[in-house]
Symmetry: C2
Subunit: 179 residues, 2 copies
Amino acid sequence: MPRPRTSETADRIRAAAMALIAEKGVAQASLREIAERVGITKPALYYHFASREELLRGLVQPLVDDMEELLAAAEAAHEEDPQRLLADYFDVTYRHRAITSMVMTDPSVLAHLNLAAAVDGWRRRLTALMYGPEPTLAQRVRATVAIGGLGDCTILDLDAAPTEVRRATLEAAYATLGF
Amino acid sequence: MPRPRTSETADRIRAAAMALIAEKGVAQASLREIAERVGITKPALYYHFASREELLRGLVQPLVDDMEELLAAAEAAHEEDPQRLLADYFDVTYRHRAITSMVMTDPSVLAHLNLAAAVDGWRRRLTALMYGPEPTLAQRVRATVAIGGLGDCTILDLDAAPTEVRRATLEAAYATLGF
DNA sequence: GTCTATAGGCTGATAGAC
DNA sequence: GTCTATCAGCCTATAGAC
């Protein structure tokens, strides 16, 4: 079933799926309703995506790819500066904040796509870069609070300029780390 | 439809539902599978619960009740000590960590039970107690990181003594607040 | 690329016997 | 309190016409 690399309809389907999932969660976002919003019928979706799961996987892939690339680069460069690491992590989650928000609002996407372990791995790898390969309990807790809380802030509605939110969030997360 | 105040079967149903939701998320926890685990048939559930929604609501109610009670008491006493407030908040979430974990793993329960606004209100009320009624952007961000990150820690598997996890978590959250 | 029609399975929920 | 039998409604997915 050869399909074009990029399809305008496929993009509209993805956009409709994202919006619907943000509103009602993954499980409630049915192909019927997605098709309805795009203005086509349900079977037409199957011309653009082999299955519902393939559609969902395509939604989160940009975030997954960028995060893996960031961590691989940081590990290769032995990047140890916590402020730099937090900033890079924030920027990736913020760039894909529509996806971040979707995932944080309904993490069952991760379970359904077998991505929960990957996300857990991101946290552990980030912690290892900042505190070394065998962090203490206190260090693991501090990293968890900083990274988890940072994620909460990227999706928080603060009616403030993004640059200010970014600065305030990075300051708060850095204070948590206790360096 | 008068039913006994406490029913051993109802408790077993709730336990099975909690376990199943923890494993597969709310949407995937069907009445059929819950009944199967309890060892009864699906219609038998309806003797104990009027609907699936009533069953779900009963699962999270203990956490909701305790948290509302904690906040009402803190507000009545004009409690302002951040360390005390964080500790009380941690203790409630930890006491109900099975529920906390369930909610954080799959927040769509909250949306389905119209509880998302309530949880958001908890964070705002806690922030107001610590920083006053009109916190700055930096203060709101710090409170969000501290409270959100604290929640992450109550469900983190750290293979350490609970008292140590508690101490480390409260230290990290307090450091975030920047007092 | 999109359609109509349909298969087959799962869901929450109810009726009524025991 | 629990059962069997059953309902309508929703789902993902496919077949085949245009």
